[in-house]
Symmetry: C2
Subunit: 637 residues, 2 copies
């Protein structure tokens, strides 16, 4: 068989590969990890490489990922390109597998369980009981006799009733069809897998023998940007492993709106649906391989996502979510077999999706309310989830109100020249002192860009140092070597020689303006909601901040730029990915899932586009921190 | 194209057919209707004809229906034999389509609805309400606005709650997946199809526009011998049409035991399951053609059958039903999509199967109890269903007990030389006076055999005329020209010259012995049950007799031979096919179906094989009418 030589320039080694191997395989052989979100299917366009010597033809399906210029320059997708010549290849930095820094876990909340430990049972709150959504019960049944010849399934449920508290059981026809044989072949020793649906038990499977030691579940946060999956041991609720990846749907649009435009217009729903299912299956595949378990032993999945992501997940038409009056197909979803939507776990395994409230207040927020215990006690608390949308909930054990404001992509590191997601090499913390910029990157790597928390820091520091005014405008009269006076003036945070890419990392006046709009929208939403319920910020017991910032969000700086209300800093708590945290709670506690439904039902959604005071609040918030400085008494620049 | 001549001997005409036509098609062309229970699939073996001139080859799949002798004599299945020669054919009488005399309707009971009329609402009994198991509701929904932008499905259920009494709705994922599009394409005017599952509503489909004028259901009695299907207009509960056919499973065995032996031993479950599904689809096909309706508009099916037939219907393993301690897989069955078991109606249509009590007291009996109102009032009543098994229920609105006794095939016209099912040409009534036998046949045709009710008459008349003694033995000393003194003496009811087949119709001493055993088993079961509950026959308010006898059962003669207890004849009522009657009640009244579940739960099954007094009762009953004449005070021969 012919072999070819592939050299990775400038100095990353050279390998011999057999004819027909892909460039992706060649790179792996050379020890180079390329980014392949889609698992090498030619779907994500992440593994771009440039062939600078030798002949390689871009696969015709892959050329859509490149401009004509790029194609002429020899750009190809490594996974779709077969080696049929000796090749010289260079790898752009962005194609390398960065250590993904996806927020895969909520930060434990004071009262809540420490990571990887089961829920602590709080007597007043059944949602804290470890009582998994799907239970496996080993049964040793008495053999039937003439005086006890009840039907097989009744013999099973009679025993189940002794073990579980459900009184009423549903069973599928498929489960009945082999029951007689299974029971007799296994001497009446079987394991029943039982899901909870409201007050009833649903028997998913009855297997021979004792299989209770193999019982797993998945808690999933289906985010617009990232998908995070936790593998849970359903025997004790412990997290066995976590994997996250960027949402493959990105190829159909960065945000929910553009994905809806694709699904409802020039494209169709199916590929967007399939993309997120591929995400979940990839992550699950990695988890089961790492932990040496059989995916057939996963019988429960709980997913949380915003309403649009939930529609994509369940293959529901999302088109009317986008248009006034913003109507989703459903906010409470039926329990279905995970296999029905293509999730590769046990064929009898079920998926529950966290209920939402409205088109722009979804199951991720309800999961967050559950995880943060907002609805548990009489004290009024607040949850703020900051992403492309800012969702805000205020409430207590009596009432809950919520709203959503479009914040734009600034907090997620998108929409600006140097912006990037919170991944390896992203600047996440910044300090400016005496004209010197010091920063900290994720993974302590050479900087590649700046993410949301870095941007918040940058703006705070720039105001504090007088580089920009509280209106966000540069003082171009200052002679600052870092300030590049273009049409859109631009401040240099890292010079080209400092960075991984060789390009400067900068932030421009227009980009600052966008961030001010974003923080203004979120703050105006919080303010409108607090006013709506007739409270003041001071009456909020705690503010929980969730979102994709990573654990690096500097809360005082977030207050100082006017993103978060100015209350005692101890009462503001960063909670990270509260969505996956709530999904896990629902997975390992059926009462918690019930509580989530109750939360969704109880929550009153205020449609800000229909709420007059919002717009003036928004305009008033377009200042750092705010046009009304009395709202930020502690902020001094 | 070559054509051939097919002559039907002796004088039924001659047709020209094209090469490759089947003999069945040739017969149809000649105006001869052959019996084809399976619709010409080569499954039922009913369309046997004899090719006496020309060459025709029996299809190799069909030869299992014939003995070697028959094959040599030119017997073939008409439906499986292609015409490839000029042929001369004779048709055995038994292959002709007899007017099937299948009991397709229950005889209206005093309090119950007249045939083809909806239930009369009795205020004390919700089971009498017309409140169909599946309802279609036309909804004109208000368009969403910003101040009313609840999710699509909630808009639907909100309106449904105003129309129906259910408070809680389930919806399938499939139903949600196109909801947004359907609602908007049809200007918020849709028809919801809603099934009842216990206290909940299950939304099966949401179609655009008003489709409420197309809404049908099926009530089915899945009997061991016959399958009966009623097509119901679900708008008013009226019976639009009825079709019945012999159960195609007969090819796997005449009775439930031999079919179980086939399914669990040398054969497998699948073909037995498929046979009854083919029955239902054939009957439904005929009904929808006759009434010009689309099978997709049938969205509800209720079936009733004995426990074994129910297992075959649902493809459940029946093997343990047959063996002590007689355990079925289930007696309460989940509501499933009819398409899941292959029934060709609406893909979203559901099937409910009447719940049973035990392996030998099935849903047909529960349906009978429902139809006869046994559980309605304080008066204690009795239902006796006589077939291969005799099932007996005694009870009132407080309690119900039941039992089952194997009666053998005698009452169904099987197991004897001249016995036949209650079809055209069967002798159903007999009188013997002064040595002369007069009889009445079904369809007033020339006699072809004798069915169950005819046999009961015959035996009564033979005792009354001193032809046999009360022990069932012939008095061979009597010089009676009708008595043929073989090893097994045999009495001639019809001479060869009187009959369709040219063979005498006779009844032998051994056959009489079998019938005595059968009636003895049924009577002993009734007696055991009455004793068990501490009553006497006189305390039974009414005895309902159900079964395949047709309306010809002579009740006084059935009492006189000791099949039925000797109570005032006015208190015995023949009810015919109470199983299909109960199925229809469950179909057009969800409360009636709920009541059936309640009846099944309430009913105590007495396992006679485990009940010591039964055997002595059986032995005591092997006499005409009984060894204890005090039990039959009114019977005088």
């Amino acid at each position: 068989m012919t072999t070819y030589r592939v050299a990775f320039l400038p100095d990353e080694g050279e390998v011999q590969v057999e004819e027909g191997a892909t460039l992706l395989q060649a790179a792996e052989q050379a020890g180079i990890q390329l980014s392949t979100l889609c698992g090498g299917e030619g779907l994500c366009g992440e593994c771009r490489v440039q062939v600078v010597g030798g002949k390689a033809l871009a696969d015709k399906h892959a050329i859509g990922f490149f401009t004509g210029d790029e194609l002429r320059q020899g750009y190809v997708l490594a996974c779709q390109t077969k080696v049929e010549d000796d090749l010289e290849v260079t790898i752009p930095t962005r194609s390398r597998l960065a250590e993904q820094h996806i927020i895969t876990e909520g930060v434990p909340i004071t009262y809540s369980q420490p990571e990887k430990v089961v829920l602590h049972r709080r007597p007043y709150d059944p949602a804290s009981y470890f009582e998994p959504l799907v239970t496996k019960v080993y049964l040793e049944l008495p053999e039937p006799t003439l005086s006890d010849n009840t039907a097989d399934i009744d013999r099973v449920t009679r025993e189940l009733r002794r073990e579980l508290r459900d009184s009423d059981y549903e069973v599928s026809l498929a489960c009945l069809q082999n029951l007689a044989t299974t029971l007799r072949q296994h001497q009446w020793k079987v394991t029943a897998t039982v899901a909870r649906v409201g007050e009833r038990g649903r028997i998913l499977a009855i297997e021979g023998g004792d299989t209770t030691d193999r019982h797993y579940g998945l808690a999933i946060d289906v985010g617009t940007t990232t998908v995070v999956t936790q593998l849970i041991d359903m025997r004790d609720g412990k997290v066995l492993g976590v994997e996250g990846s960027f949402n493959l749907q990105a190829r159909y649009g960065e945000d929910v709106i553009s994905r809806m435009v694709f699904a409802c217009g020039r494209g169709s729903l199916e590929p967007v649906h399939r993309a997120v299912i591929a995400n979940i299956n990839n992550l699950t595949g990695t988890l089961v391989r790492e932990h040496g378990i059989d995916p057939k032993d996963i019988s429960a999945v709980v997913a949380a996502g915003n309403t649009t992501m939930t529609h994509f997940l369940l293959n529901l038409m999302p088109c009317s979510i986008r248009l006034e009056p913003y109507v989703p197909t459903a906010t409470l979803y039926p329990q279905v077999r995970a296999s029905e939507i293509g999730i590769e776990v046990s064929p009898e395994g079920i998926i529950e999706v966290m209920p939402g409230v409205a088109s722009y207040v979804g199951g991720d927020i309800v999961a967050g309310v559950l995880a943060c215990g907002l609805a548990d006690k009489p004290e009024t608390k607040c949850l703020i989830d900051v992403g492309t949308n800012g969702e805000i909930v205020i409430g207590n054990n009596e009432w809950l109100v919520c709203c959503s404001a479009s914040a734009g992509p600034a907090f997620e590191g998108s929409g600006s020249r140097s912006g990037m997601r919170a991944a390896r090499g992203a600047i996440q913390k910044i300090e400016i002192r005496d004209g010197e910029v010091s920063y900290e990157t994720i993974g302590k790597a050479k900087p590649r860009g700046i993410c949301g928390s870095g941007l918040i820091d940058a703006i705070y520091e720039m105001v504090r140092n007088g580089i920009i005014g509280q209106d966000g405008k540069f003082d171009v009269s200052r002679g600052d070597s870092r300030l590049v006076a273009e049409d859109d003036p631009r401040y240099t945070l890292a010079y080209p020689e400092e960075t991984e890419t060789g390009e400067a990392i900068t932030v421009s006046e227009a980009e600052i303006g966008n961030l001010i709009k974003s923080k203004g929208a979120v703050f105006a939403a919080i303010k409108s909601l607090v006013d709506y319920v007739g409270l003041t910020f001071g009456e909020l017991d705690t503010i929980y901040v969730a979102g994709g910032f990573g654990s690096s969000l500097d809360l005082p700086k977030a207050v100082a730029i006017g993103l978060l209300p100015d209350i005692e800093i101890e009462r503001i708590q960063f909670v990270g990915n509260s969505s996956v945290m709530g999904a896990r709670m629902g997975l390992i506690s059926a009462p918690a899932f019930e509580k989530a439904i109750d939360i969704a039902r109880k929550m009153t959604n205020i449609e800000l586009s229909n709420y007059a005071p919002f717009m003036s609040e928004f305009v008033a918030a377009l200042f750092l921190p705010h046009t009304d400085s009395r709202l930020f008494p502690s902020v001094r620049y």
